[in-house]
C-alpha cells in the first residue's frame, strides 16, 4: 500500500480544506497509478513549531511513499498534479508546497528468497 503523509499548519488554510485535499490526493493517486489505493495521514502543526526561512511557516509538506521504481517523468507529473490542485483548493503559492516521493520496492517472497 502506498502512503501519503501530509504536514500542514493547524491554523492554516490547508487544514481548513483537509477533506477536499484528501479526496484530491486519492483521485490523483488512482488516476496516475492505475486505480491504486493510498493510505493518507495528516499532522497538524501547532503555531510556533514550524519555521520556513527562519520565520513562522505557512508551508505544507506532502511526503509520498510509492512503489518503485518511478521514472523522472512519472514523478514530475505526479508531484506537479499535487501542486496544481493544492494551490487551486487552498489559494496558497507554489512556494508554500513541498512534495516529495520516496520509493519502496516489493519485498521478495519467501519463495524468491530461497531461490536467490
Amino acid at each position: 500500500m502506498n502512503t501519503i503523509s501530509c504536514l500542514v499548519q493547524a491554523e492554516g488554510v490547508a487544514a481548513q480544506h483537509q477533506s477536499e485535499l484528501e479526496q484530491a490526493l486519492r483521485t490523483n493517486h488512482a488516476t496516475q497509478l492505475d486505480g491504486a489505493e493510498v493510505d493518507i495521514s495528516w499532522r497538524l502543526v501547532e503555531s510556533g513549531l514550524m519555521f520556513t526561512a527562519g520565520a513562522p511557516s505557512s508551508s505544507s509538506v506532502i511526503a509520498c511513499i510509492l512503489n518503485g521504481p518511478t521514472t523522472l517523468t512519472q514523478r514530475e507529473t505526479y508531484m506537479r498534479s499535487i501542486c496544481d490542485f493544492w494551490t487551486d483548493i487552498t489559494g496558497c503559492t507554489d512556494h508554500e508546497i513541498v512534495v516529495s516521493i520516496s520509493e519502496i520496492s516489493d519485498l521478495p517472497t519467501s519463495h524468491e528468497s530461497v531461490n536467490s
Binding site: 513549531l49 527562519g54 511557516s57 501542486c83 513541498v98
Partner: protein
C-alpha cells in the same frame, strides 16, 4: 527542502527561542550549501514523552539534497551543533544530527523539481533569494 526535524527535550529550549534557533539553522545551512533561505524548513517536536536516549537532548533528522560533499556534511554537523548549543541549554555532545539525503528529482518545491547540486540550473535557483 532541506527539512530539519528537531526533537528537543522540553527543558533545553524555551518556546520563545525556537524562531531564533530556526533562523540560525537556516543561516548555517545556506552558508554551507548556498541554498536559498526560503527553501529551509525547521520543525520542532518537543519530547514530552521522554523518548530521546538518556545522553541526547536534541536530535536533528536533517533531510537534505543528495550530492553534498563529505566536507560540507561535516561542516553542517559541526556548525549546527554550535548554533544549537548557543540557543539552548544542551551540551554540544548531547546534540545529535542524523543527515538523510534525498535525490533532487524526488522533490518539488516552488513549483519545480529541485536542481541537482552543482548543475547549471542550481545557479539560477540559488539566485531566488537575491
Amino acid at each position: 527542502m532541506p527539512f530539519y526535524h528537531a526533537i528537543v527535550r522540553p527543558e533545553v529550549l524555551a518556546p520563545a527561542d525556537r524562531e531564533a534557533l530556526s533562523n540560525d539553522l537556516t543561516s548555517v545551512h545556506c552558508d554551507v550549501t548556498g541554498a536559498p533561505r526560503t527553501f529551509v524548513h525547521v520543525l520542532y517536536t518537543v519530547d514530552d514523552a521522554n523518548r530521546l536516549p538518556d545522553n541526547i537532548d536534541v536530535l536533528y533528522r536533517a533531510n537534505i539534497r543528495s550530492g553534498r560533499t563529505t566536507e560540507q556534511k561535516a561542516e553542517l554537523t559541526t556548525r549546527l551543533q554550535t548554533a544549537t548549543a548557543k540557543r539552548t541549554t544542551a551540551n554540544p555532545s548531547s546534540i545529535a544530527i542524523h543527515i538523510e539525503e534525498t535525490e533532487a528529482s524526488f522533490v518539488m518545491e516552488g513549483g519545480s523539481l529541485l536542481p541537482e547540486p552543482g548543475s547549471p540550473e542550481e545557479e539560477a535557483w540559488k539566485a531566488l533569494d537575491a
